[in-house]
Amino acid sequence: MLMKKSRFAAGLAAVAAIALLAGCAGGTDTAASADAKPDYTKMTSKELADHLIFNGGFNLAHETQEGTTVAARMTQDNIQKMCTESRNKPTPEQVGKIVAEARASIKYPEGGIKLGDWKKGRDLAWSGFGYRAGHNNDNHASREVGANCYNCHQIGTDRTGGNFGPSLTGYGKTRGNTEGTRKFVYEVIYNAHSYFPCTIMPRMGYSGMLKEESISHVMAYLLDPESPVNK
């Protein structure tokens, strides 16, 4: 929660700073400030991109499911900034910062990392529902928020998964359902940059997209010897 608030505050500060730079403080979220439009050709492409995003390009005031606004979602944090700047090939110095920050961000469940229900995990791993906002808004009261794993990973053998990430079929069988594996998988789901700086895998624990209980179900799907993933 603290993290969310500070990210949000940082977001607002960035919006305000950009508005000041553009000389139109107070009119941050209107497409109509055409007369105050700065000379785009005098800005660097990065300055212009930020300007377009924060001055009329997005519906910044729109409220999100996590209780912030779109302004917070569009504002980059350190890791997003470093991975954008380096186009996902961080310098050794950036690697150090990213890994340290990612490690520090991980919060562990009280009472240790436990496996939940692999059946629930199977459904969650497949589902892409949740947190979409804009012309349609996912209503979290209507359905469980999904984990999106199948978009990038092959996991079970009964469905086609993507191949942006490695196949996780038989993961528990090959890695073993040990404390070490459970810790690793938990940390990867929570914030994969702790092992793979500038990975494309979303930080689903850190961002709050996946709650502790959902993580435990998805982990069971990968690691429980009873899960079809390990048969």
Binding site: Q76, H135, N148, C152
Partner: protein
């Protein structure tokens, strides 16, 4: 224009359209496939088979009638409007957009230019349903946009970069394309960047903006979306991808939208447009 359909059409219609009858969208697609054997382009045999029977073609024909009809409070047709190649010129206009327009001092896309024509020349109010309703095959917008786009089928994408604003917007669009943000830390490049070419999201083979001979199909809109049973616009696709990325809504007609479209069109430069396309 569309060879297969022409066979079934009355002679009068054939006479009108035969000037453009060289290639169908399917011909263009098959030409690309012959040249590249790309797993992105070949992933759906049904798509290749059905593309020349796309309902979007009819959407475009209806748009042609709307384009030529006197409409709006001023009761004039769209034939005096400038889509970048001079008043009334639609052939080849779509593959040279977005571009800079001196009359608005802005870089504009086809959709924005249609709005401009309707509101200035034809005199429609901005909130008139004819202008405001942008999505779906039944909207005037999608009909007119598809008509104009069809007149560029098979032509190479060639958005001008001669005005400094065109360059600035294209470069800002590239910046936006690679910018990681939102709850899932995605950029467009996560799924359409140099490392994503021919990888799969679930069963879908992805195209990369760094492979122009694939990317041309990706950016060929309007396209009939089989899953939605409607012709969809480029702006509709951009909005959908940001939505999937868990950012928030990118605004219709905004300069941010023009920047993305300027970059993505430039990335397909030189490759033939498939218009109208058919997609999942």
């Amino acid at each position: 224009m569309i060879r297969k359909l022409l066979v079934a059409m009355p002679l009068a219609a054939v006479m009108v359209t035969s000037a453009y009858a060289e290639q169908t969208p399917g011909d263009v697609l098959r030409g690309l496939i012959d040249r590249t054997q790309s797993p992105y382009l070949t992933q759906s045999p049904q798509n290749v088979q059905m593309i020349d029977d796309s309902p979007a073609i009819w959407t475009g024909y209806e748009g042609g009638d709307l384009f030529k009809a006197p409409r709006g409070p001023n009761n004039v047709s769209m034939e005096s409007c400038d889509f970048g190649k001079g008043p009334g010129v639609v052939k080849g206009a779509a593959v040279e957009l977005p571009r800079y327009f001196a009359d608005t001092n802005k870089v504009m896309d086809l959709e924005g230019r249609i709005v401009h024509c309707m509101t200035t020349v034809q005199g429609f109010a901005k909130d008139d349903p004819a202008v405001r309703t942008r999505h779906g095959s039944n909207s005037d917008m999608m009909k007119i946009m598809t008509y104009i786009a069809m007149e560029s089928n098979g032509m190479p994408w060639n958005p001008p970069l001669s005005h400094p604003l065109e360059v600035a917007m294209r470069d800002a669009g590239e910046e936006m394309f690679f910018r990681r943000q939102g709850l899932m830390d995605f950029s467009c490049a996560t799924c359409h960047g140099p490392d994503a070419s021919h990888k799969r999201i679930r069963a879908s083979v992805m195209s990369s903006s760094s492979v122009p001979s694939d990317w041309t199909k990706s950016i060929s809109w309007p396209a009939f979306r089989v899953g939605q049973q409607h012709a969809r616009s480029p702006q509709n696709r951009v909005r959908g991808c940001y939505w999937q990325m868990r950012t928030g809504q990118i605004r219709q007609d905004s300069d941010a939208m023009m920047a993305i479209l300027s970059y993505w069109t430039d990335a397909a430069r030189g490759q033939p447009a498939i218009l109208p396309d058919m997609k999942r």
